[in-house]
């Protein structure tokens, strides 16, 4: 019996890592963007366009690497466009983001019609010597594909860059006090453009993960709301990459757990279990905000505000 429970937990955890990865990429991207003071709620649309681009390029060029790069590039371009509207024209960032989301949903559905059912070489699992053979840790964390392993490096790397390097300091300064940063010689406009573009590129990569690793092909509206979850997870993570990892794993774990509890024959309404990931996000979000009530806020001070240089 104990072995069975152990196997069940390992299966749930492996599913957790898999389900969390696409959301994690989008969340990490949004953290970079928001740290520079730009809010991009258009992740859903960017993920969808990324998912479509990944399939289209992989199908036509037969290279999954180029497919992933193309998804990042298209995400980057969408990010630049968002930055153009928000940084250059000082447009309302929430409105622009929502427009980006609707635009991406429609565009990917329209262009994607020709790619439904097209056979592509999906991103397969690959083993890492030694690590994949470890008991428990191996099947949970090292039985996946390259993009999952990449997150293990990306999270600490991002935390290091944001907190310990000059680039990170510049990024944070622009998000907190753009005028002070500008006075200190930082190019605020350039930093915000770059942060928005890189953040959107990561969201595009997360989208490509959905179509290239998960569903092995394009289907309309494949993101099914995961872009919006990522926007919520940034709040939960209070703009920290490590907390983003925890948040994404909580969300992925709830999905994985509810499906496997059903498969194990637990007699609970699947509607109730299906709400679990979302309820969890709301509860944890509320608790983490409440706990920080008296502590200094971690919201980038200039988040969502247009930057108008002093004349």
């Amino acid at each position: 019996m104990n072995i069975e429970i152990g196997e069940f937990l390992i299966a749930v955890s492996a599913g957790m890592v898999r389900s969390a990865t696409p959301v994690l990429y989008a969340t990490l991207g949004e953290i970079i963007t928001e740290r520079s003071g730009i809010l991009n709620v258009g992740l859903e649309g960017i993920m969808l366009v990324g998912a479509f681009t990944g399939v289209a390029v992989t199908y036509n060029i037969h290279s999954i690497v180029l497919g992933l790069l193309a998804a990042m590039l298209v995400g980057l371009l969408m990010g630049l466009f968002h930055a153009l509207l928000c940084v250059h024209f000082n447009a309302n960032q929430v409105g622009t983001g929502i427009a980006m989301s609707i635009f991406g949903t429609g565009l990917s559905a329209y262009l994607g019609m020709d790619y439904v059912g097209k056979q592509i070489n999906a991103l397969g699992a690959c083993k890492i010597p030694v690590l994949s053979d470890l008991p428990v840790i191996g099947p949970i964390f090292f039985s996946h594909d390259v993009l999952v392993y990449l997150t293990y490096l990306l999270v600490p790397l991002m935390a290091f860059i944001i907190n310990r390097t000059r680039i990170g300091l510049t990024l944070r300064a622009v998000g907190e006090e753009p005028r002070a940063a500008a006075a200190a010689g930082v190019n605020v406009v350039q930093t915000r453009y770059l942060a928005t573009a890189i953040g959107a590129a990561l969201a595009g990569l997360g989208g490509a993960y959905l179509s290239l690793a998960y569903a092995q092909g394009w289907s309309e509206n494949i993101a099914a709301g995961r872009g919006w979850i990522a926007v919520g997870l940034v709040l939960f993570a209070s703009w920290s990459p490590f907390r983003a990892l925890i948040g994404a794993y909580l969300f992925g774990g709830a999905i994985s757990l509810q499906l496997r509890l059903q498969a194990a024959g637990l007699d609970v309404s699947p509607y109730l279990l299906g709400m679990l990931p979302y309820v969890l996000v709301i509860v944890v979000l509320s608790i983490s905000t409440w706990r920080r009530k008296n502590a200094p806020s971690s919201v980038p001070t200039a988040l969502g505000l247009p930057y108008i240089p002093q004349v």
Binding site: E7, F8, A11, G15, R18, S19, P22, A109, G112, M113, V116, G117, Q119, A122, G124, L210, Y214, A215, Q216, G217, S219, E220, N221, I222, A224, R226, I255, S256, L259, R260, Q262, A263, A264, G265, D267, V268, S269, P270, Y271, G274
Partner: protein, 364 residues
């Protein structure tokens, strides 16, 4: 000056009128214009795709007589009402409303246009110009179940369900009855995604089932490919639903229901054109020719194919009724007594799991 202007205006008016009437003359060439509403994208390789295929068949078979207007991803709301009004303005005299939730808009539009014929999916309406049709895939699921029951080695089968509503329960129960008719030891496990379409969730649900040791998968989501492809790459046998997608799982495909709406559309259009259409209930099942069986996969051996095809003929001729009493639910209570045969009213209210399904139906 004013008079000259009047003459010019009158001239333009009559010229326009003449042009319009000649336009109307060319427009009236096809005998019937038909509108189709479907709820999702036709690119789903599933339910909505089969509807579009039927439309293509209709256009070919009645070329020159019938013209079609097709609208996909139409929301089950006032949006449907607007789309239908537009179709009627374009001259449609027959409209297929191919989703459960279109009934309310159909009732409103049909009251305003008594000369237009409506075909409503899966819902009854007591109106002279509204007919009802059902696309019953149960018999196809039953035969897929027979195939799966013969092919399984672990006697554990998995079903990824969409929403626990009567039409889905009909599919899962029929599948299980098919499995049990040849393999009483086998158990079917059901996991619900509570979505009609969410590819990533479907794949994760399938993987969750695979972890429990199942070796055969079935599903009823409106998109087919994610689960079929996941099964192929994991080495799990899989059967389809609605459409034939065997080419996506060359090694693991078994068979599945395959909806072929074309002949039914042709028959309905012919009846409307001949003015002998009557409002009633059309059951689109194997006997009617709408429901077919998808081709077998390479792994299905010849004796199993013969057995399943023989059963299919029996179903077609009415000798085999898949839902014949006695039927007990998973709790052991008798739902249909011996000798009783269910009618469409009974099927459209189905709310239980048959015996052989591992687990209980969720209470809402």
């Amino acid at each position: 000056m004013k008079n000259k202007l009047m003459i010019v205006l009158l001239g333009v008016f009559f010229l326009g009128f003449g042009l319009l009437s000649s336009q109307a003359a060319t427009n009236s060439l096809p005998a019937l214009k038909v509108g189709f509403l479907c709820v999702g994208p036709v690119s789903d390789m599933g339910w909505n795709y089969t509807e579009q295929q039927g439309k293509v068949y209709l256009e070919k078979t009645l070329a020159g007589k019938v013209e079609t207007v097709f609208a996909e991803s139409v929301h089950e709301s006032a949006e449907a009402e607007r789309v239908m009004e537009k179709m009627i303005a374009q001259g449609c005299k027959l409209i297929f409303a191919a989703s459960y939730g279109y009934l309310e808009p159909v009732l409103r539009v049909s009251a305003r246009h008594p000369d237009v014929t409506f075909m409503q999916l899966s819902r009854f309406a007591d109106k002279n110009n509204i007919g009802t049709y059902f696309g019953l895939t149960g018999e196809g699921f039953y035969l897929a179940g027979v195939t799966a029951g013969r092919m399984t080695k672990t006697n554990k089968l998995g079903f990824v369900g969409s929403h626990p509503v009567p039409s889905t329960l009909w599919a899962i129960n029929a599948y299980t009855l098919g499995v049990h008719s040849v393999n009483p030891k086998a158990k079917v496990k059901v996991v619900w995604t509570e979505t009609w379409i969410d590819p990533v969730l479907e794949v994760e649900a399938a993987k969750g089932l695979i972890d429990t040791g199942i070796d055969t998968l079935a599903f009823d989501q409106s998109d087919s490919l994610p689960i079929v492809k996941a099964a192929e790459s994991k080495g799990i046998k899989v059967s389809g639903c609605y459409a034939d997608v065997h080419q996506f799982a060359p090694k693991q495909w078994l068979t599945g229901p395959n909806l072929n709406w074309g002949p039914f559309y042709v028959k309905t259009c012919q009846a409307v054109m001949d003015h002998n259409w009557k409002n009633g209930v059309c059951i689109c099942d194997m006997g009617s020719g709408v429901l077919e069986l998808a081709p077998f996969g390479a792994s299905v051996p010849e004796p199993v194919r013969k057995e399943v095809l023989a059963l299919k003929e029996k179903i077609k001729s009415g000798k085999l009724v898949i839902f014949a009493g006695p039927i007990k639910d998973s709790q052991g209570a008798e739902r249909l007594s011996a000798g009783q045969k269910p009618d469409i009213q009974w099927i459209s209210k189905m709310n239980f799991f048959v015996q052989g399904i591992d687990g209980n139906l969720p209470k809402n």
